[in-house]
Structures are given as structure tokens and as C-alpha cells.
Subunit: 150 residues, 2 copies
């Protein structure tokens, strides 16, 4: 039995992503296949529930395109720093937990590494991706504690 060879690191591309990636590297097998994944949630998913569809959203497509470009650059920079090949960098679209599960299953991954703020109470109810990823995951999940310690 060898250590993890097929790993996904689910990143939010915040300043904490590097720390999460470092942990993944520490526990990965020598020639492990590491995939970096960012899930871009469609903006209308996020905002339309709050503000009704209106003229204010006419520029949303442009904004989304600029955001996509920024995400691509950040992901590439991380990939370069940690020697992850270009074909192992992935930008997915949809609901984070769903896309992460789908990707893990599709690529038969053994481990998902994700940053967690260790939320509890109300903060947790408001949503934690680490938590949602743990639910119903078909493989192991390493939740890396990021942010201030409680």
C-alpha cells in the first residue's frame, strides 16, 4: 500500500491557496499525479437570488470574462511554482462541491485536498465548501486549516 498517487487540490485562489498546495505536496507520493482545480461559480447563480434580473446585470458577461482571465493567470502561476503540468490545471464551472465530486470520480482520484476555515455555528450554515465536499465524497478528503486559529 503506497501513499496517495492521484490527488486533487481544490483551490479558491485566495492568498491561502499556496499553504493548501504545500500540504498536498507534503503528503503526496513521489511521482503523484496532482491536479489543481478551481471551480468558477456562474455569477448569475450567486447574484440573481439577491437582486432581481435588471439592467445592472448587462455588464455581467464582460466582468465574468475578465474574472476568468484573472483566474487562469493565478492558477498558472501556482502551477508553475509547484511544478504542476499545464494539463493538470483545471477550471470548472458550476457548484463547487458538485463539480469537485464529479471530477474526483471521473479521474478516479484518491484524495481531495481543500482549505477549510474551521467554521462553526452561523458561519457554517452560511456555507463552507470543505464541508460540502466532505459530504458524499467517494474518496478521502484532507481539510487544511487556513486563516486565524480559533
Amino acid at each position: 500500500m503506497d501513499t496517495y498517487q492521484k490527488i486533487m487540490v481544490a483551490l479558491d485562489l485566495s492568498s491561502e491557496s499556496e499553504a493548501v498546495l504545500q500540504k498536498a505536496h507534503l503528503i503526496a507520493g513521489l511521482n503523484a499525479d496532482i491536479h489543481l482545480v478551481y471551480v468558477q461559480e456562474p455569477m448569475d447563480n450567486i447574484y440573481v437570488g439577491i437582486v432581481p434580473q435588471s439592467a445592472a446585470f448587462s455588464g455581467l458577461g464582460d466582468l465574468e470574462a475578465r474574472l476568468a482571465e484573472e483566474i487562469k493567470q493565478k492558477l498558472s502561476a501556482l502551477g508553475e511554482k509547484f511544478s504542476v503540468s499545464l494539463e493538470n490545471l483545471h477550471i470548472l464551472h458550476g457548484s463547487p462541491a458538485t463539480e469537485i465530486h464529479r471530477f474526483a470520480k471521473q479521474h478516479q482520484l484518491q484524495l481531495i485536498v481543500i482549505g477549510s476555515h474551521g467554521r462553526k455555528g452561523l458561519q457554517l450554515l452560511l456555507g463552507s465548501t470543505a464541508n460540502a465536499v466532505l459530504h458524499g465524497s467517494g474518496c478521502d478528503v484532507l481539510s487544511v486549516r487556513v486563516g486565524a486559529t480559533s
Copy 2:
């Protein structure tokens, strides 16, 4: 930056505990300090909510003592198999997530390893220790997927 050196493996002493312990061993540093922890929930915590205190509970103390002995034996057997020293075997009493968090903080652990059934939906609402441990944990958590894959 080295891999995890101070690790707790939270066990339920089911047949799946060995698989969880194996994963912990795989990612542990060479001379890592590994603690095996079992949290025994007081029986009156579990049952008194369901059946009111009655004469039927008079034998509960005995049953609890026998259970404690069985737990001790199972934990010792696992410790021996994985070369964990006696002083690193711990039986705690109380609510699992609370005790696990307290122990991790007290021993300044870097990683909690715990088995997870990857529950979702109603099963999850009915309680998952892995999930409860992730919430509010001050350190990293590796949830090892056990049981049938979904």
C-alpha cells in the same frame, strides 16, 4: 516544512478502524508521534433521551464497565499491531467532536485522522462524527472514506 509529526487517529473501533490507521501511517512523518483516541460516550447521554430513567437502567453501570474493558482490549490490539506505544492510547469520555477538539488542542496536534462514511442527506443530519470534527477544528483533518463507495 516537514510532513505531519503530531497526529491523532480518532477511532470508532469498528472493523474499519484498521484501514483508517493504515492511511494515517502512510502520510505520517518518519518519527511521527501518533495518538490513538477512542471517545466513549456516556450511555445515559445516548439512551436517557429516548427512554425515561427507569428500573431498566439499573444494570447500565455494569454494562458500561464491560464495554470499557472491551474497548481497552480492542485499542491495545490496534496499538500493538501498528507499534503505537501504550502511553499514546487514549480512551476519553464525553461528546466525540468536543473531546477530539479538546485533545488536539491540548496536545498541539497537527492532524486529526478520522473515518468517514461520506454520508449525505438524512443520514448526515442524523449525525456524522467526521463532519462534526471538521467544524471548528483548529488543525488539519483527514477524513478517510470507509464503507461501500457511493
